[in-house]
Symmetry: C2
Subunit: 310 residues, 2 copies
């Protein structure tokens, strides 16, 4: 049996047909053009499903279900996107609309939850019962898998792990609160930290590279070339990430924590200092319940694979 | 059928016989005298079980199980107290020792987990599937119930909710880390905050009352009498508690959060400002997944009832 997975993003909608082995047989991507009505976006989503079915040479009836991974707050029980700021969606019953068109059961979850589920069924966390995936991107997203299933709490509103405190009354956060982990550990925050360090150290390699335009890679790249100002940014950024992961270890004691999102491509330059910080700061320190900490494996395919596995 | 519940504390061991309705039929308490060997303490625990069985007029064979709630890190799967600093215990197989004596299955969990389970089966959270109990005492303890069961993670090491960050690199914590929630929201922390405010405001009612000796009640009592310095301590303390609860709402979206421990006896003076803070700081603010926030109901009996329900 096949399953249809839809990864709904602010920029693109990726749709795939996924087999029982969680591999993607066929996929296509269409622009979201999020400023349109939800109805128009979902109509395009449906057209993309038909196109990918045709590409795979199968019919909707050959599929067991449609899964949708969406940004924002998603109520899985009702199949409704409650609030997705970057889509401009509010209370959109996406599951009912797709079921009506295709006659298939439709399931919905937050995109970070889908990515976490994908890693458990087909990626770096295969066989894991309790794990957390953290995406370090524009924001800091979280997906929690407990007993092999997505845990999202009341009205599926939980796992907003980027919005737990690092510094009470600290940096302003997009959520309206101050001091959230996201305000220190997102790529957006790293770019801000890089900019500040470049300004403070005008003679540094970091400043020279920053003058070309700053991304989440700038500080890591200049640090690799031996620049002290850049290394200080990287060191502190890794502490910010690791401090939040330490909280997750103390609260949830997962077997594994995976890092996804753009910053996770830094690999060991990011992971090694994080592992050391967690082992020296978690409850019980090196005798504590230290999880495996690694990079997520599935990259851009995680959204489709996880949505299909809902 | 009856169940035996044992609430092992640093000062006393409370043992009770609990009925199917989760009521305590008989109970006794004996001193822990924790500086002895674990074998001596567990022998006294067994004697207390025999005494309470005699008091209830039943035999061990009338009981389905023995449950133990212990401080420290408890590995429920192995029935072993891994580390309990205030008992001086390290890798103590308490379940095997009690099973050997009584021929009954024995189960073990952390005391805060037991208190949370007790509130779900017989207290303020009856019927709740997902809830968190926070004890505001000498430390800040946590018990997490997910899908109606204790969630403790790998090696039962999780739910150390007092050891999640409020302020990165902030006040020193007993766990060795800096800035943990416990270092701001425990009764110990409130006493420190009260002392500092009394010293800073020598003419205040707070200072006069503090001169008689400071407890977790001092600031709440002086605030109730209209003292501004005391009110400022209470306001800030409530923010500290509420900021940590807001993190729990964002991460786990529980249906209910219960507060236990000595400070929770302050009732609405504590709860009302906390509810307001959570509703204005959680993800989605007043449209967010705001749980019921209330005081725990079972007080000192929670340990026995929860241990028996393991």
């Amino acid at each position: 049996m096949y399953r249809i997975g839809i990864d709904l993003g602010g920029t693109n909608i990726a749709v795939g047909i996924v087999g029982d082995d969680h591999r993607i047989l066929a996929q296509i991507s269409v622009p979201t053009l999020a400023r349109r009505t939800p109805e128009a976006v979902i109509a395009d989503m449906g057209d993309a499903v038909e196109a990918v079915l045709a590409q795979a040479g199968i019919a909707a009836g050959d599929c067991a279900s449609i899964g949708i991974g969406s940004p924002g707050t998603c109520d899985s029980a009702r199949g409704v996107v409650v609030r997705a700021y970057n889509l401009g969606w509010h209370e959109v019953p996406v599951c009912a609309m797709l079921t009506e068109r295709f006659g298939l059961p439709a399931r919905l979850s937050n995109d970070a939850n889908c990515a976490a589920l994908a890693e458990v069924v087909a990626g770096a966390a295969r066989g894991c019962r309790n794990m957390v995936l953290i995406t370090l991107g524009t924001g800091v997203g979280g997906g929690i898998i407990l007993n092999g299933e997505i845990y999202a709490g009341m009205r599926s509103a939980g796992a907003e792990l980027g919005h737990t405190l690092l510094v009470l009354d600290g940096e302003p956060c997009t959520c309206g609160r101050r001091g959230c982990w996201e305000a220190y550990a997102s790529a957006t925050a790293l770019i801000r930290q890089t900019k500040q360090a470049a300004e403070a150290h005008p003679g540094s390699l970091l400043a020279a590279e920053a003058a070309q335009g700053i991304t989440g890679r700038t500080a890591f790249r200049a640090a690799m070339e031996g620049d002290a100002a850049a290394q200080a940014v990287v060191d502190r950024y890794c502490e910010y990430v690791a401090a939040g992961l330490t909280d997750l270890v103390n609260a949830l004691a997962p077997e594994m924590i995976l890092l996804g999102g753009g910053i996770s491509r830094q690999g060991e330059a990011l992971l090694a200092p994080i592992r050391e910080y967690v082992a020296t700061h978690c409850f019980g320190q090196r005798q504590g319940a230290i999880p495996v900490i690694a990079a997520a494996q599935l990259g851009n395919e995680a959204g489709i694979i996880g949505a299909a596995a809902l």
